[in-house]
């Protein structure tokens, strides 16, 4: 039986995740019933994952313009001007559902997919960060997922040859059935090498390169657009298999092709594979595409048009080259032992609709014919209803009187220092190659953000063109800083404020290393948008994000929305993750987070308020998730960041570290424990700190008040720092001194040897 003779019944439609109304719309757009292949194509292109049908209406409110933004949302990744003819490409993506079902391959292919987005744009990937959320670590399943995800990220990024330089991981029970795996990738390129995902030029050949197409990952996009359940584990065939070796070759071949000038447009094949790449490339150029499936290199025989169009086999690219240069392009890919096949051509306006079409042929027979616009711009768009969730009435009700004062400050401090969300993440990042490319100036746990040197770029070193000195370095050595941040618990308690804190903290982290924040990529992870309470969280998040970006003056250059993060009807905390890029104009002023020299002053920029709502302290010590998270005044935040950056760029500061999870006490401890080569001298440093605020000691030590940075400096620079602080109206307080005693001392509350802190902070669990 011809595959396309399979009948499209209501059950088949439902199994494709399409509503009856959506099916009616398909019939109207086509002017007839779709066949099964066409139904498959519509179902993936109209899935939440590909169409953003529940979020598009809101996303357009986000600020995406800025003087440094060369390409904003809409292409495969954002492109940001960093001066001297160079640009940074960056994007964050989620691979949450696949990572729950098959953690190693789910995470690995997540890395592979976002890396392709970066080199599709013409850039060489130079860094990866990952933002992970798992359930309770006491749960054995969490350990299995954590181990698999970390090994998967390492197993792809390490062979590919990109350093994994940063990220975060948090454990909360709400992620027990739905972990989050968000990967941010960053690339570097010359501005005149930017590539586009556009199928320009009628008659130009359409080409598929990379791995052959197999049956893996069919319907991954639709799978990502559903809630998880016990049955999801049966979806394991929906998870793709990664091959970093092929991707590495594909990268090198693509970069060679970009130098040749034969290329017209290129797009990677990620979600919805051939379907999505053909229709999006055509849509951007206003053209049509005709492809012949018998020309597609296949991994196995007997694949149906439906399977070929929907396969999510990894390490493939779709490209359009100038007609007549197919063989020149072929030579490059064959040099790297990669498949190269001309599978069709760019078309113009076609009958019967007199509009650009996606036309799919197999053995001379047409098997699908769909107007491009019906797959892209005419995809459904929903303004879903939203309502404030009831749980907020309970969580907002934090009675501070009822929080009993613990007996022993040292005990509380050590418990927090050794807790899952606070202790050292070395066991994780040690599995990631974070030094390859030899540009990593600040590594994980060395600074509040990762810092990478920017040096010559391009396909190979022989390349010319970027302004260089005689010794091959850029005229002015510069660096970029990268971070990801997001506290799901704050967002659960107050989504609007929570996302603002994420933006503020990401920017603060960049400032602490000496970078000016210049661009954001956002990964928005939520439950089902069909639940009005979840939709309310989403709408509040967008509003908060808009305000924070506008006030701090940092544009969003692209990102990702992941809905349906729930299991058996229970949604995760709303978890927006902010990936941020900063620019260090002068590498002399890069600042780590660790204390340096005995005798240095420890100074707080900002003020202590003792806010414990949503804190680790409240959760770990008092088992409560209450309050609204700490308060945030964006104007004060901006002033603090400007003051700190100015002080760093004036060369006044030796270390800078912002207070976040665990509050001031944990911040001070981290500045003692981190730093390269610390194990060489186990006695250094100690601190002697006297806090004079009239607050309860537990609130003062562990409150997660925003807008605070702890810096250390030589006492001879204090006056200059004070001047800067006054000029920005930022409160400044001397907390104490760095010592060589090896003792961590705060008032008469805590007096412990640093070696004890290190033991607790690095203890294996």
């Amino acid at each position: 039986m011809n595959f396309n003779e399979i009948k499209v019944t209501p059950e088949v439609i439902q199994a494709h995740g399409l509503s009856p109304e959506e099916y009616e719309k398909i019939k109207t757009l086509l002017g007839r019933e779709p066949n099964i292949t066409e139904l498959g194509i519509f179902s993936v292109m109209w899935s939440e994952h590909c169409s953003y049908k529940s979020s598009r209406y809101w996303l357009k409110n986000l600020p995406t313009q800025g003087s440094r933004v060369l390409i904003g949302p809409g292409e495969n990744a954002g492109v940001i001007d960093i001066g001297e003819g160079l640009a940074v490409v960056m994007k964050i993506e989620s691979h949450n559902h696949p990572s729950f079902v098959e953690p190693y391959q789910g995470a690995a292919t997540g890395v592979g997919g976002i890396l392709r987005d970066i080199f599709t744009m013409g850039a060489r990937p130079i860094a990866v960060l990952n933002s992970l959320r798992f359930g309770d670590l006491k749960n054995p399943k969490t350990r299995y997922l954590l181990g698999g995800v970390v090994a998967g990220i390492a197993g792809y990024g390490n062979p590919f040859g990109v350093p994994t330089v940063g990220g975060e991981v948090y454990f909360e029970p709400c992620y027990n059935g739905n972990p989050l795996v968000n990967v941010m990738a960053v690339g570097l390129l010359r501005q005149d090498r930017v590539q586009r995902g556009r199928a320009e030029g009628i008659g130009n050949p359409v080409i598929i390169v990379g791995s052959p197409t197999g049956r893996d990952g069919i319907h991954g996009a639709a799978f990502a657009s559903r809630e998880l359940s016990e049955k999801s584990l049966e979806d394991r065939p929906s998870v793709q298999i990664g091959d970093p070796f092929t991707e590495k070759k594909l990268l090198e071949a693509c970069l060679e092709l970009y130098e040749s000038g034969y290329l017209v447009g290129i797009q990677d094949m990620g979600a919805a594979g051939l379907t999505c790449s053909t229709s999006e490339m055509a849509a951007r150029a206003g053209t049509g595409i005709r492809i012949y499936l018998d020309q597609v290199p296949l991994r196995e025989s007997g694949m149906t048009p439906y399977e070929i169009m929907l396969s999510e086999s990894q390490e493939r690219m779709l490209m359009v080259v100038k007609k007549g240069y197919e063989n020149k392009a072929r030579e490059i890919f064959e040099k790297w032992d990669l498949k190269f096949a001309v599978i069709g051509e760019v078309t113009g306006v076609e009958a019967p609709h007199q509009q650009p079409l996606l036309q799919v042929y197999l053995n001379g027979q047409i098997v699908a014919e769909i107007p491009i616009s019906s797959l892209t711009s005419e995809a459904p768009l929903y303004q879903r209803p939203f309502v404030k969730p009831d749980y907020l009435k309970e969580t907002a009700n934090l009675d501070l009187e009822k929080i009993l004062l613990p007996a022993n400050p040292e005990e509380v401090f050590l418990t927090l220092l050794g807790s899952d969300n606070i202790r050292s993440k070395r066991p994780i990042y040690q599995q990631y190659d974070h030094t390859i490319l030899a540009n990593t100036i600040l590594r994980p746990e060395e600074g509040d953000a990762a810092v990478l040197r920017i040096r010559r770029v391009g396909n190979r070193m022989e390349e010319e063109g970027v302004e260089e000195r005689g010794d091959g370095k850029l005229k002015r050595e510069k660096a970029i800083a990268l971070t990801t941040d997001g506290n799901g618990r704050y967002c659960y308690l107050n989504p609007r404020r929570g996302v603002q804190i994420a933006v503020a903290e990401a920017a603060r982290n960049l400032v602490c290393v000496g970078a000016e924040p210049i661009a954001i990529t956002d990964g928005l992870n939520f439950g089902s948008p069909e639940q009005p309470e979840v939709m309310w969280q989403f709408v509040e998040t967008i509003e908060g994000l808009k305000t924070a970006c506008t006030t701090l003056g940092i544009p969003i250059t692209g990102g990702n929305v992941s809905f349906y993060n729930e299991t058996n009807g229970k949604a995760i905390y709303p978890t927006p993750i902010i990936g941020m890029l900063g620019l260090v104009e002068d590498v002399r002023y890069i600042t780590g987070q660790s204390f340096k020299d005995p005798g240095d002053l420890i100074v707080l920029l900002g003020e202590n308020k003792g806010e414990i709502g949503g804190s680790e302290y409240l959760k770990i010590i008092h088992q409560r998730v209450l309050g609204e998270g700490p308060s945030l005044d964006l104007q004060r935040e901006k002033a603090l960041q400007q003051a700190c950056l100015k002080a760093i760029r004036s060369g006044l500061i030796k270390s800078a570290h912002d207070t976040s999870q665990g509050g001031l006490a944990i911040c001070l401890a981290e500045s003692c424990l981190t730093g390269r080569g610390r194990e060489k001298n186990p006695y250094l440093p100690g601190i002697s700190v006297e806090l004079t605020d009239s607050l309860r000691w537990d609130f003062l030590l562990f409150g997660e008040d925003q807008t605070r940075i702890v810096v250390s400096l030589s006492s001879s620079n204090l006056e200059k720092l004070q001047e800067i602080a006054y000029s920005f109206q930022v409160p400044i307080t001397i907390l104490g001194k760095v010592t060589d005693s090896g003792i961590f001392q705060i008032n008469d509350w805590i007096r412990l040897p640093i070696s004890k802190l290190r033991e607790v902070w690095t203890r294996k669990q």
Binding site: P159, F160, D243, K248, T435, A438, R453, E679
Partner: protein, 232 residues
């Protein structure tokens, strides 16, 4: 002096090595494609780190069969300088230019961190510029660096002074605690008997300037140039 950096499919430290050589030595550096069969006119060959051919079978196991390898083996046998870093070391072992083999790290995980390495011999062409017994910091990044060989070969390596780099404490003590991967006798790098072929797991090319580290890896490359000059 002219350096060649071999590029296998899956090499990923080739460009770092190329840049380090240029930056440190100022000498001519070229890439050598793995499909070449004849080796050009080089004075030193580097097999860089990476995952040649994906390392899906065993690190370096496929690369030894690549088209370029016979001429590199000839080059080494006739006294040419060959340095293998990380995956390059693994390829040197697989191709028999150096004795022994690599097993998975004892943790069974990839490890990326700084290690302390002692320069056991400063008479090789790759370590001339170091002090004997000097302790330096270098990054490692590998999952198969657990060096193993039979007791007889190990004894020979020790007696002949073929162990060039060893994992040690910051004070230079050879202790198990400072061995990141479980390698025999804390071996981080070895030479052949003649001393013209050296392989090591740590990445000197990732520590050649003071912005990234303390720059102490640079001397591996400057030593090669100095040795070449002395030889005249």
């Amino acid at each position: 002096m002219k350096f060649g950096v071999v590029v296998f499919p899956g090499s990923n430290c080739d460009q770092d090595t190329y840049q380090a050589l240029q930056q440190v030595t100022g000498q001519q550096v070229e890439y050598i494609w793995h499909k070449e069969t004849k080796l050009g006119n080089y004075d030193g060959i580097i097999l860089p780190g990476g995952f040649s051919y994906g390392d899906y079978l065993r690190a370096g196991a496929i690369a030894r069969f690549s088209k370029i390898m016979p001429s590199i083996i000839n080059f080494a046998r006739s006294g040419g300088l060959v340095l293998g870093i990380c995956n390059g070391f693994q390829i040197l072992l697989e191709s028999g230019l150096l004795p022994g083999t690599m097993m998975k790290n004892r943790t069974l995980q990839f490890i990326c961190k700084d290690v302390y390495v002692k320069i056991e011999q400063n008479t090789t062409p790759f370590t001339l510029d170091y002090e004997k017994n000097q302790v330096i910091t270098l990054p490692i990044a590998h999952s198969e660096g657990n060096y193993y060989t039979d007791p007889k070969t190990l004894e020979e390596l020790e007696i002949n002074g073929q162990i060039i780099f060893r994992y040690v404490s910051p004070e230079g003590k050879v202790e198990e605690e400072w061995n990141p991967n479980g390698s025999l006798h804390n071996i981080a790098g070895i030479a052949n008997k003649e001393g013209n072929v050296v392989g090591l797991m740590p990445h000197p090319e990732r520590n050649v300037d003071s912005l990234i580290g303390d720059g102490m890896g640079a001397r591996v490359f400057s030593s090669m140039v100095n040795w070449y000059r002395r030889k005249g």
